[in-house]
């Protein structure tokens, strides 16, 4: 039987990226995937006749353009199109219209608050200062602060230098920022409730925190530090849905001779003499390889795919306590026409971006309260986008597809397990809310796919349906991700690595985790590095 150089578990975008870079270095690699389709949470699936849904992740901003270029992802079919603007709806029916052009945006904000329109420039400057530092670390392996190896010391010095360059005052601000809530952070800049709600929304997305929870300010940053074509903070949609990202990377992988096997879920990572030697599939088949790379989240990898006895002391507990709470659901809706929203003028600047049903900081916090009590939110926060408004490939002509990201939604309900009826009720709460802002919306619905965190875990394998493979709080970031001492993609078992979003730099369709892990693996194998350096806009 074939002995591979490397087996990668999970054909999500990071697993495919990792495999592609290993294959590019000449390794014989195999990616095994439990589902009958690739992409994990970055997948496009035709769930209704003629409609292609990005079932889970739906937008993209952190994707490293250097990887895009290096793996020829365009030739393999990837086209990322930036959002143009967005709408944010308030509790009282007010609408904030955002534009990408700063001058036009200024005029739009002034209608809500002249002060806030002005403060937005200061806000973006401060956020830009914090973001540029983090952004530089995305395609770098975090240093181990306890190590004396020259590489770690060099990297620590680099990090210290970058922090120090902020200046003393900003350094304090930065440390404060890491521990603040999004709401408190925004209080320093804005007075208008809707503007605050709109700016706070990236602080909670994918996270089991509320706008008032400490740490949510960093989540906000994580969502605005990406870029599309050098436009920092911009978000892009993949033509053909997010599956186009995965299939393009898979194309690059296959170009370099890598293999992918679907319907091949891993039951256990095989360990002999404290070394990973391969995997056993769910059907009992054993596959052998020089190294094993897990693209599954840290909790699933160590608590479900490994024999506890194979693990060094403490690792199982660390994995068990890894913070990976599910907080968001997804409702994909096929529409017979483009919905119209009350108070929104016809303007092709606008109908191309997203819609955020944020309400106010108050209602966002109330929505979080429901989650704490094991219920889905009565009045949920929804971030929507209608990709078919610009992408002709995801819905039939004249028809539309709307992606709705919903918070909050728990993976376990207080009153027992999720049932299909409860899932439908959750879906109903979402369309009820949209209908309030778009009368007649429900009449446009042709098909609906409702996904709770429970469904996402069952299908994609993300523990609790957490979209980031582990929360992005400071205790689980940089050299603490996933666990202190294991942030350099090497796991406690020899020849075993991790490459998913549980590792630095965390969640989002970035390809950075997979690429960083590949660089470490190639270093251990004494192969020449195939992973490019990041394109930096900050130097």
């Amino acid at each position: 039987m074939k002995n591979y150089d490397a087996i990668i578990i999970g054909a999500g975008h990071n697993g495919l990226t990792n495999a592609a870079y290993l294959a590019k270095a000449g390794l014989e690699v195999l990616v095994v995937e439990k589902n009958d389709y690739i992409g994990g949470a970055a997948a496009s699936r035709e769930m209704h006749d003629g409609w292609v849904y990005s079932s889970c992740s739906y937008v993209c901003s952190l994707m490293r353009q250097t990887i895009h270029r290096d793996l020829n992802l365009t030739r393999h079919g990837l086209l990322l199109v930036p959002y143009l603007g967005s709408l944010c709806f308030g509790d009282k029916g007010e609408v904030l219209i955002s534009y990408t052009d700063p001058e036009v945006e200024y005029n739009a904000l002034r209608r809500h608050s002249p002060h806030d329109a002005d403060a937005m420039f200061r806000f973006h400057t401060d956020l830009g200062r914090y973001a540029q530092l983090i952004r530089k670390t995305l395609l770098r392996t975090p240093p181990d602060p306890t190590s004396w190896r020259p590489r770690d010391i060099k990297e620590l010095l680099w990090l210290a230098k970058e922090f120090w360059a902020l200046g003393e005052r900003e350094l304090y601000e930065y440390i404060r920022f890491f521990t603040m809530s999004a709401a408190d952070f925004l209080e320093d800049y804005f007075e208008n409730d809707l503007i605050k709600a709109s700016m706070a929304s990236p602080g909670i997305i994918g996270t089991a925190l509320g706008v008032q929870s400490p740490g949510s300010a960093y989540i906000l940053l994580h969502h605005v530090m990406g870029d599309v074509d050098g436009n920092i903070g911009a978000w892009g949609l993949a033509r053909g849905g997010m599956g186009a990202v995965s299939s393009a990377i898979a194309g690059a992988l296959q170009e370099h001779g890598g293999e992918i096997r679907c319907n091949a879920g891993v039951k256990q990572i095989l360990v002999e003499n404290r070394q990973a030697v391969g995997v056993m599939l769910e059907n009992g088949e054993e596959l052998h390889a020089g190294i094993v790379v897990s693209n599954l989240d840290a909790k699933r990898t160590f608590t479900q795919c490994m024999d506890k006895n194979d693990l060094p002391e403490g690792i199982y507990e660390k994995a068990k306590n890894f913070k990976i709470r599910g907080s968001s659901g997804k409702v994909n809706i096929a529409l017979s026409a483009l919905p119209k929203f009350t108070g929104v003028p016809e303007n092709h600047y606008i109908n191309r971006g997203g819609q955020v049903f944020a309400g106010s900081l108050e209602s966002m916090e109330r929505a979080y309260d429901c989650w704490k009590h094991g219920r889905w939110s009565d009045d949920p926060f929804i971030e929507s986008v209608i990709p078919s408004a610009w992408d002709p490939t995801v819905a039939p002509p004249g028809k539309h597809w709307m992606s709705n990201f919903v918070q909050y939604c728990p993976s376990k309900l207080a009153n027992g397990p999720w049932t299909p009826e409860q899932r439908d009720q959750f879906g109903q709460s979402v369309i009820d809310k949209i209908e309030r802002y778009s009368p007649g919306f429900k009449d446009l619905i042709v098909h609906m796919e409702v996904r709770t965190p429970f469904d996402i875990e069952a299908e994609i394998g993300l523990t609790e349906g957490n979209i980031f493979q582990g929360e992005l709080t400071i205790d689980q970031l940089l050299f603490n991700r996933p666990f202190p001492g294991y942030a350099q993609y090497r796991m406690p078992i020899k020849n075993m690595y991790m490459c998913g979003s549980s590792t630095h730099p965390g969640g989002g369709v970035s390809s950075a985790c997979g690429a960083n892990a590949a660089r470490e693996i190639l270093m251990d194998l004494k192969r020449s590095n195939t992973v490019p350096e990041d394109d930096c806009y900050d130097e």
Binding site: R69, T74, P82, L84, V104, R352, A389, D391, P392
Partner: protein, 406 residues
């Protein structure tokens, strides 16, 4: 025989020094940011709303651009074909009716005056489109020939409809028979009772068409197209010249006057270029009996060219605006960047560059010295460049017949 018909320019309005295109009433409504420029004397949009949305309309859905300002000449009469075949360096004697071809023409010294397209409209009747005003040269070139040359720039309204859904949009707008129209083909058809000529041509490297009609039908044509958007069927967006500049470089099309100095405007010796020097040797046909510049171009075989226009991919993300090019980092200077863009589809800096060409060889190594600003501080960096022999970007749907739907 020469005739020039009345054009709007004859009636001079001192308050309207730039001409409005026949589509202007609609363009004015669509152009939200009022970012105007002039193109061949017409008021033309540089950007309609945001450059990114216009660029991606071309690459992802469907774009509409007003082509009216492009120079157009009607060429007919008994000597029309022999005139054209003597004018251009390419052999166009076999160009069938309802076909279009790309051409370049030179002066007697074999230096390029302009590039353009010849449309064989009907048996013996042609349209020549060019980037720059060429009437003077066309008339000089026609001496002694029985040919009619009429400038019809202002008498033909034209729109470019380009992008993956261009075919679907035109079909939905009521155009029939496009399914069998091959690249560089022409279809004379009717839309709502008026004549429209459709050619499967463009400047984007993707599926696309150009529509030609009498200016009196311009608004009806526009409304028929945008009716498709209004009915909610397909998205389409107006694009300005900035977006066009991006896609034409991606598609590897050169722009006379920007990428090289045209012979007509060259004052200083050596600043003009032959077709071989701009990488268009493939359109030169030495087998045909005679064409303007032939002797000079034949002499280039003995006296090899020393410059070449090349397509350059420049590493990194710093824009190589006007950069000097060197044969190594801090090496010897061998050329300059002429035009450049950031390509959102390829995530790369792409450029047209003029470089040294020694002993029939292109430079092995090319480095760009790039000056750029960060918060008003100037920085300098070096980026390695790679010559591309093929267009940076093209798509199979550009040439598929019948065309794809999206």
């Amino acid at each position: 025989m020469v005739s020039i018909i009345q054009s709007p320019l004859v009636q001079h309005d001192a308050k309207q020094v730039l001409l409005p295109s026949p589509f202007h009433p609609r363009i004015e409504q669509h152009c939200l940011v009022k970012n105007w420029m002039s193109w061949n004397g017409y008021q033309t949009a540089r950007v309609y709303d945001t450059l990114a949305s216009e660029y991606f309309a071309i690459r992802s859905s469907c774009s509409v651009m007003d082509l009216t300002p492009m120079e157009k000449y009607r060429i007919s009469g008994p000597d029309a074909l022999s005139f054209l075949n003597r004018l251009v360096v390419r052999d166009v004697s076999a160009l069938k009716p309802n076909r279009v071809t790309y051409v370049v023409w030179c002066n007697d010294e074999g230096k390029v005056l302009d590039d353009g397209t010849i449309f064989h409209l009907h048996q013996g009747e042609y349209r020549l489109c060019s980037q720059h005003h060429q009437l003077d040269w066309l008339l000089i070139s026609s001496l002694g020939m029985d040919v009619s040359i009429v400038e019809e720039t202002h008498e033909v309204a034209a729109l470019a409809v380009q992008g993956p859904t261009a075919y679907s949009v035109l079909s939905a707008a009521g155009f029939d028979g496009l399914d069998q129209l091959k690249p560089f083909g022409i279809l004379h058809t009717q839309l709502d009772g008026f004549e429209v000529m459709v050619s499967r041509t463009g400047y984007t490297g993707d599926l696309g068409y150009e529509l030609w009609t009498n200016p009196s039908n311009a608004l009806a044509l526009w409304d028929a197209l945008f009716g498709v958007k209004q009915r909610g069927l397909y998205d389409l967006r107006c694009i300005g010249l900035d977006a066009l500049e991006m896609v034409r470089i991606e598609a590897g099309f050169i722009m006379p006057g920007d990428d090289f100095n045209t012979a007509e405007t060259t004052v200083r010796a050596g600043h003009d270029r032959s077709p071989f020097e701009i990488g268009l040797g493939w359109v030169v046909n030495f087998d045909k009996p005679h064409f303007t510049g032939k002797q000079a171009l034949l002499r280039e075989k003995d006296r090899p060219i020393e410059r070449r226009l090349v397509k350059l991919a420049v590493e990194g993300n710093k824009p190589p605006v006007d950069s000097f090019l060197y044969d190594g980092k801090k090496g010897r200077r061998i050329g300059t960047i002429k035009t450049q863009i950031w390509s959102p589809i390829l995530k790369a800096n792409l450029a047209m560059a003029d470089v040294e060409y020694r002993n029939g060889k292109l430079p092995v190594q090319i480095w760009a010295e790039i000056y750029y600003q960060k918060e008003l501080e100037w920085q300098v960096t070096w980026a390695q460049c790679r010559i591309s022999d093929v267009p940076f970007w093209t798509h199979p749907r550009r040439s598929a017949t019948p065309p794809q739907n999206c």
